[in-house]
Point group: C2
Chain length 308, copies 2
């Protein structure tokens, strides 16, 4: 089943201990859709400026991603500059230029309207909500957010959470959103705000999937922890979380039914896609990835965690 994703398509200038890249293609929707495209059809809603050319377009085309919802506006694309020199787990932002994103009004192409899965990448919750409401027929909605929206745009974010099935955030964000330092208690508090499932990302330690308690005691939904792969070298952590989301949601959308087992496998595919993303700068690794490599790494994750 097809996924529609709304989020940023952007340029990033990134510095890490492994080196530096200027103005490479980035943005949450870009990482998400590249990762998800290995599993299912993906349709993007975003806005770019006049600096988005054929070379950037071809990155999406090669993965057969539908970009009819990427609007071309006068001006420059969203730009982010950051570094990970002291801490690979957390970016230090040097510059954020919203540019054409400042006046972004998401428009949903008619061809996207039969999408059964919707992903609201990390953007202004007001926009997330607008897209959510414009697509009432979707079967499953997942979304991301960040500390900035949690702190300074809480009412708008709480409205979005009511319409989400799955929220993906990191440890710090979960604790901040719930105002509770215990992860289990924080997860319960966050799910009480709307989403029936919560994925908390732990960076190099993987991610945990929580579900609201099922209605009866025989419910087979359970808390599930996927590891991250211990990696010899992390070249660039940018986009790891969005690639996780793409692998997770892409796999889920590819399944005939959204079962608890499908959720668990999806967690592994999320970790797999995140582990590839950080091996090269920007989207380089996702662009040259094959499905065989993905399945081989899925096997490596199983070996890493399974007793037998």
């Amino acid at each position: 089943m097809a996924i529609t994703v709304v989020g940023s398509v952007a340029y990033d200038s990134i510095e890490t201990p492994a080196g530096r890249r200027d103005r490479c293609l980035g943005g949450a929707a870009t990482y998400f859709s590249l990762a998800a495209s290995f599993f299912t059809d993906v349709r993007v809603i975003a806005v770019v400026g006049e600096d988005f050319g054929p070379r950037q377009q071809s990155v999406f085309d090669k993965r057969k991603i539908d970009t009819r919802g990427i609007e071309r506006a006068a001006g420059k694309s969203f730009f982010w500059e950051g570094s990970y020199l002291e801490n690979l787990n957390e970016a230090k932002t040097h510059k954020t230029d919203l540019n054409v994103f400042a006046s972004f009004e998401p428009k949903i192409p008619d061809a996207y309207r039969d999408s059964e899965f919707l992903f609201l990448a990390n953007i202004d919750p007001v926009l997330q909500r607008r897209v959510r409401e414009a697509m009432p027929g979707v079967k499953l909605v997942a979304g991301d957010t960040m500390n900035y929206w949690i702190k300074d745009h809480r009412p708008a974010l709480l409205e979005v959470l009511k319409g989400l099935d799955i929220l993906l955030i990191n440890d710090t964000e979960a604790r901040m959103l719930a105002a509770n330092n215990n992860l289990v208690q924080a997860a319960r508090a966050v799910m009480a705000m709307g989403p029936s499932s919560l994925i908390v990302k732990h960076g190099e330690y993987g991610a945990t999937l929580f579900h609201k308690a099922p209605a009866n005691a025989e419910g087979t939904e359970r808390t599930f922890r996927a590891p991250a792969l211990p990696l010899e070298e992390v070249v660039d952590p940018t986009g790891a979380g969005d690639s996780f989301a793409g692998g997770f949601f892409g796999y889920l959308a590819s399944q005939p039914e959204v079962t608890p087992a499908a959720y668990r496998n999806a967690m592994f595919y999320g970790s797999v896609m995140g582990s590839f993303a950080v091996e090269r700068f920007g989207t380089e690794r996702l662009q040259m990835l094959s499905r065989d490599e993905i399945d081989a790494r899925f096997g490596a994750f199983r070996e890493l965690t399974h007793l037998d």
Copy 2:
């Protein structure tokens, strides 16, 4: 097979967000031997003062732990006071009184000499080495250490590492010992110092087992990650690492053969024992634990991590 453990038997005064306990029984050898005693015979080498009475002795006796190697010296037992008010993952030490431990000269009872497993808990590496050398016949030696010894007693510690099969340390210690921030690279560097296996403990995110690369490509030893249980409440983190070590090494010693599969199961039993230890203050939870509870929780860890 029997394990001999050398380490501290002590009194701890602990403050956590859940409350406070004054002078409860503690020490690395105490936690280790209680946890390991659910799997195999355990023999302790330690020193205590005149404040160690029948009530403390009975904690060991009830778990059939051999305490003939616990020397009674004139003076007071080792005393530690600390708190976890700001961060449950790291203790803030308020006071450390070595007391009788300052002049500890480990003596190995003859009855301990046929032990096939030896655990060197976190004490002065000079003492660790002395015990290691006094027991040349052991089959498998594991050990722990801490930042203090890594920073200020490095030459003595490096001597100990040469005689270890398995080292158990946390992330910070591994990175400090190897002077390398990448965990995979740090693990390889630490194993080059001696131990053929390394367990890096990640606190609430579990632990990773690394092995030296096997001699041929068919080697079945592999990196393995055990989770920690997402807990509703952590009452007191003191002794979690030592309880992990006790569960891990105790299970290993209980197996007819030390196979790669035994190592993986041992990692899970380590996590299981660590997860119990933190549920109550001090050794309270380990004292009232049953083997059935341990196996039920092992099942919960499997559910938490396994796809099927």
